[in-house]
Amino acid sequence: MIKQLIILFYFLTGMLTPTISFALVIGSDQEEIYIDANFSGEELLVFGAFYSDPSQSRDSKSDILIEVVGPPEDVALRKKDSYFGFWLNSKSVIFRDVPGFYYLSSTSELTDEFLINNQIGLLEKKKSEMIDWSLLTTDWGSIINEKEKEEFYNALIRTKQNDSLYKQVSDEIEIIDGNLFRSYIDIPNTVPVGEYTVNLHLIIDNQVSQEYSYNFMVTRVGIEEAIYSFSKNYPFFYGLISLIIAIIIGWSGAEIFKRFRRI
């Protein structure tokens, strides 16, 4: 179902700038994802085309990379430890402004080095395999040692992946006819609301040749939005209405069945 079609022409021809040999056209089937009562996750279609310049040498290798970054959120990550046989939460770390959703897909496996050099990915690792912590805002609490920090960082990615909120794949982009591509991106039902950014990179011979980004929104609509904002803005009346509904259903249920029993 294509709700709205947006096709954006990034470069029409390479004639004006002869060093650029590819043109990129990209679109998405929705510019807004609505969370309504029936929302149970969605599939976002991202598609596009790239045109090659005939003057480009034939053996140059081109790849497409699609990145979707969700709105930033603060998360608390807690580690369980065994105390007298019980597994209880112990140390915790607060990560600030981590993406609520992250998706990275490419037509071929990308090396870490490439991702670092082009500042793509959740958190760039330096060549020494150490994570550059300055890119993250965190409250480490009692954690000071580097190894433990890395353990928490990896756990952050892993737990988000388990919730289907982070994903990195290299086989989800379909190439049709050599220069058309499309990719279906799973948006699970637990996604945060807010502004999402789609970044598209065209990579030629391991160099980013073209980049294009656009945004789409995930928003609550209809009754979902009404209930959510009512509960936040008027919590007392929200509680009261929840109660009244409970009272009405509880009372009428008893009355209706009382009649049944008499018959």
């Binding site: 969370i35 009562a37 029936n38 929302f39 149970s40 959120e73 603060d74 998360v75 608390a76 990550l77 807690r78 580690k79 369980k80 430890d81 046989g85 019980f86 597994w87 209880l88 939460n89 915790s92 607060i94 609520g100 928490f152 756990a155 952050l156 892993r158 737990t159 988000k160 919730d163 039902n189 637990t190 945060p192 609550r220 009754i223 979902e224 209930i227 959510y228 509960s231 936040k232 803005n233 919590p235 007392f236 929200y238 509680g239 009261l240 209405i241 929840s242 109660l243 509904i245 409970a246 009272i247 259903i249 509880g250 009372w251 249920g253 008893a254 009355e255 069945f257 049944f260 029993r261």
Partner: protein, 307 residues
């Protein structure tokens, strides 16, 4: 078919919710229980966040205890004065309970505390039901009838501030019912239960109330306690999910009525023993979650800004 829950912020299968509410409602109608002690852990099992499960259960119990109270009220089996005294304690207890709850959420220990409390509660309920029902079954086989003392005289009768409760034919101090109400209030707010399972034996053994008035009075009291807990959660933890509550209430009210009808047709003890086993099963699952090394020792929670 699934429905998106606006406060829990996830979607669940609508039939799963309706059958969950229906089954818990059926059991509560059959045994005259609130059902919160099963509802909350089952909601957590299907993936509802702990705080939403607790707060929404309280809202659901309002509906089921109203349904139940009406019947007892018509038969004149509600001691309103005793209910009122219990509520004084419960009022302060539930305020303290919600405060404890939000502190536990803030320090990230709510899941653990809820698990331990539920394990203790369910094990206690399950074992006592199992023992009681097996005793009844055994007595029935031996064709013995059990005689019970109607009235207990204990320390509750020696404290000051004595008040006459005409309906319960009691002349006791108001201190014990206030303390009982206070404890139930704390438990109700932190666990999302009505607390009938603790309240009923406490009323019989500590206060010496006549058994016939106990169920109606405890149900009456539970309406107000859970109503208060619902409001407190809605305004402090923002965890009451009206959509979730609606489906649970709808199905549990119907389930409860069917349960009442079924209770008249079926033999109680065997089913009570079966319920005891279900309860112990849930308790075991909770214990295993605490004791067995989890696959993932890290857990993530989004810090939501409260506007």
């Amino acid at each position: 078919m699934s429905i998106y829950l606006p406060i829990a912020e996830l979607s669940v299968n609508i039939f799963l919710l309706l059958s969950l509410g229906g089954v818990v409602g059926f059991l509560s109608g059959m045994f005259g229980l609130g059902g919160g002690f099963l509802m909350t852990p089952l909601l957590i099992f299907i993936g509802i966040p702990t705080n939403v499960a607790v707060a929404t259960s309280a809202n659901q119990i309002v509906a089921s205890s109203i349904s139940g109270t009406l019947g007892h009220w018509r038969q004149g089996l509600v001691d309103f004065k005793m209910g009122g005294v219990l509520l004084i304690g419960a009022f302060f207890g539930s305020i303290l309970g919600v405060w404890i709850f939000s502190r536990l959420v803030a320090i990230g220990q709510i899941d653990t505390v809820i698990s331990i409390l539920y394990f203790a509660l369910l094990t206690g309920i399950g074992l006592s039901m199992l023992i009681e029902s097996s005793k009844v079954i055994r007595d029935r086989i031996r064709r013995k009838s059990v005689k019970r003392k109607i009235h207990y005289h204990n320390w509750a009768h020696r404290l000051p501030f004595k008040v006459r409760f005409y309906k319960s034919k009691l002349y006791i101090s108001v201190i014990p019912p206030i303390i009982i109400g206070f404890v139930i209030g704390i438990l109700s707010a932190t666990m999302g239960i009505g607390g009938a399972f603790i309240l009923i034996p406490a009323m019989i053994y500590f206060l010496g109330m006549p058994t016939s008035k106990v169920i109606g009075t405890s149900l009456f009291q539970i309406i107000f306690i859970t109503a208060l807990v619902t409001i407190l959660h809605a305004t402090t933890t923002f965890a009451v999910d009206a959509v979730l509550a609606f489906f649970l209430i709808l199905s549990s009210v119907i389930g409860a009525q069917v349960g009442v009808l079924a209770a008249n047709k079926l033999r109680g003890e065997e089913i009570r023993a079966l319920l005891a086993i279900i309860v112990l099963g849930v308790a075991t699952k909770i214990a295993l979650d605490l004791l067995v090394e989890p696959n993932e020792i890290f857990n993530l929670s989004v810090i939501r800004l409260v506007f």
